[in-house]
Symmetry: C2
Subunit: 119 residues, 2 copies
DNA sequence: GTCAATAGGGATAAATTTGTCCCTATCTGA
DNA sequence: TCAGATAGGGACAAATTTATCCCTATTGAC
C-alpha cells in the first residue's frame, strides 16, 4: 500500500470532494454501479481502459469513504456485489450533470483536447 | 514541458470532462475566477496550498481547453486578467453543486477522510 | 488434466502530476 | 540602492497515481 507523505487540506467543500472523488475512474465506478453493474468483473468489463488492479484500489477507497458498500457471498468461485450507500447515491445527480455537460459539448471538447495534445 | 506518452480515451462525457477538469486545482481556479479573483497573483493568494508554478500550468491548460481566456495588459509591472469563456461559465453551476455537496456533508466527509488516512 | 472465470493482494515499474528553485524584466517605495 | 510586486518559463526533484505481472484458491467446461 502507498503511504501518503503529505496531509490533505480540507478547507472547503471542493477540498473534501476532491479527496473522495479525485481518482481517474471513481466517478465512472459510481455511475456504473448506479446503473446496475455491481460485480467487480462486470465493472472491469465496462471500463476496459483501466487495469483490474486500479479498479480494486479505487473501489476500496470508495468503500473506505463510505460511498459504496459491498456484500461478499461465501461461495466459490467468489462473488461480490457492490452497492451505493446513501452518501454515494446522493452524488449520482451531480455525476449525471457532469456527464451530461460532457456529452453536450462532445464535439467541441474532443476537438480542443486533441488540439491541445497535437500542437 | 511534459509530453504525454499515452493517448487519452474519449469515449463518453465523463472521459471528456476528465480531460479538462482533472487537475488538483482546476475547479477551484474556475470558481475563484468566477468569484472575481482574476489576476494570477490574486488566485495564488486564494489558493496558498498550490505552488505558483502549478497554478500557471493549470491555468494554461484551462486556457488551451477554452474554459478561460486572458487579457494581457502591456504595462509594467505586467498585468493579466483571466475570465471565464462561455464554456467555462457553463461549468459554474456544476462546480457550485459539487462544492455544495461537499459543504453539506462536511463533518461526515472530514471524519471519513481522516479515518482512511490514520488506520 | 488443463484452462477460464471468480475476487483481490504484493511487488515493482512506468506515467503523470505537483513542487522547488532559479532566471527574465521594470517600476515603486523605504 | 535594494527589496518586493508583477507574470511566467526552464530544469529538475519529489510525490502520487496508474499499470504490469505474478500468486492465492475452487469450480465447471472441454
Amino acid at each position: 500500500m502507498y503511504e501518503r507523505k503529505t496531509l490533505p487540506e480540507l478547507n472547503c467543500g471542493l477540498d473534501l470532494i476532491g479527496e473522495v472523488l479525485y481518482g481517474k475512474w471513481k466517478m465512472r465506478l459510481l455511475w456504473f454501479i448506479h446503473e446496475g453493474f455491481q460485480r467487480p468483473s462486470e465493472l472491469q468489463r465496462k471500463i476496459p481502459g483501466a487495469s483490474r488492479r486500479v479498479l480494486n484500489v479505487q473501489l476500496k477507497e470508495l468503500e473506505s469513504h463510505e460511498l459504496v458498500g459491498k456484500v461478499i457471498y461465501p461461495v466459490v468461485p467468489p462473488k461480490v456485489d457492490y452497492y451505493l450507500t446513501d452518501l454515494g447515491q446522493s452524488l449520482i445527480p451531480i455525476i449525471g450533470a457532469i456527464g451530461q455537460w460532457g456529452d453536450q459539448h462532445d464535439q467541441r471538447l474532443r476537438t480542443l483536447i486533441l488540439k491541445s495534445i497535437h500542437p
